[in-house]
Amino acid sequence: MDVYLINELRKIQKKEGYISEKAIRELNKKTGIPLSVLYGVATFYAKLNTQKQGKYVIEICNSPSCYVNGSLNLIKYLTKRLGIKSGDTSKNKKFSLHICSCIGCCDEAPAMLINGKPYTKLTKEKLESIFKKLK
């Protein structure tokens, strides 16, 4: 079976939560692809993380359709609620927050993904009820 690097990196991230230096070194041994190339690819894509992530990775959309439907207020609320900025992980390693580009949920704006699952038509109240379910 053929190996596709971007899918391999995704698999590593799914399993370990992020792409560690150790994982890159192992991939280098397995595939023979130079470390520099592997690191170059892993850092090019916004969804691949080379830093340890929280249990729940939140990607909240701030592209125009969400923006004109109030995404900025939700982002401000999330930043305050979680005590972290975009790109950071909370101290208890529970949440990582990323402001991201359009996730294609423009028809249900504002929207976000938590570990890849879409949550749409968000309001502050809805955010709270979602958080209550995240153990």
Binding site: I6, N7, P64, V68, S101, A109
Partner: protein, 371 residues
Amino acid sequence: MQILKKTNQKAYFIAKGLGAEKILLILKAKGLLGRGGANFPVWQKWQMVLNEPGDEKYIVCNADEGEPGTFKDKFILKNNAELVIEGLLIGAEIIKAKKAFIYLRGEYEYLIPKINKAIKLVKNKTKSKTEIEIIVGQGAYICGEETAIMHSIEGKRGQPTQKPPYPNEKGLFGKPTILNNVGTLAEVPLAIYYKDYNPNLRLHCLSGNVTKPGVYELPLGTKLKDLMKLGQPKNKIKAVYFGCFGGCMRYNPEMKISPEDICGKDCILGACTVIAVDENQSIVDVATNIAKFYEFESCGKCTPCREGTMRILALMENISLGNATRKDLKTLKELAEVIKETSFCGLGQSATNHILTALKYFKKEFEAKCK
């Protein structure tokens, strides 16, 4: 909706029975154009790859739908993925590709089970030997560009390279490759199977300040007011954006949504994406938001786009905060023009369309923010 019709893989068997040349003639006669935004005739793209020498050829389905405000591919994959797979296998059959790819944006990874189910079903029915591989994109707007998507599948950074050669000559792994949008591939079986196939219907993605956003299948050239009637905006609509790259214009109810009518106004229609912006929004703030998008998504390959989008964002933030002068507006326009003229790829070249059109149609809003 035409796009929700089923063909139950009958188009695949018609294609297999008739052979490549006859199928291309049918696609030509039916007037099937690409749905990714460029409106390129499908038969012509396929013919070019068919004409290339060699046995190793590929077909790629572009499901990296990254243009803000666009969600038609998600709609198709959610509701009629079988059609896309059938179209992909018909293309593979025509050029004798042993391998086909679906480059699915990572943001849609929740659709993978649905797509896998459709692949299994369609492959079982058609007995096609073409192997289908799903490559999951990892969040890079640039990978919608035709050379960047190839590099991304090859395991490289998704950056564009010089054209020519075009993918039809040297695409994936240097071999002739068909690259078609999800929407295009879904139309292929419909065009082959249905005698009354209508090539003029387009999936319009309506979002923004409307109460009924969604995918609306309407004929090309539908008036904006008719689309807006379906969207039921609460407040008066001030502007429409054709995605981010397409730029914006003042809402004109009588304006027809067709490439000819919209491109004449400095905008690009692309894939019929319409983001409605109402009078409660500030165009300066929307422009700042879009500037952030481009600054974040610039792939970093060429200087005008990498540095320029960063400068545009800095200028826009200044204007938005009320710290800029009229002179800054002149700089903004000049910089936007330079980026448009000198960027390496089509994405960079359109990264400032939204600024240039906003300055053209909403200049007063910008001036009001300046000292």
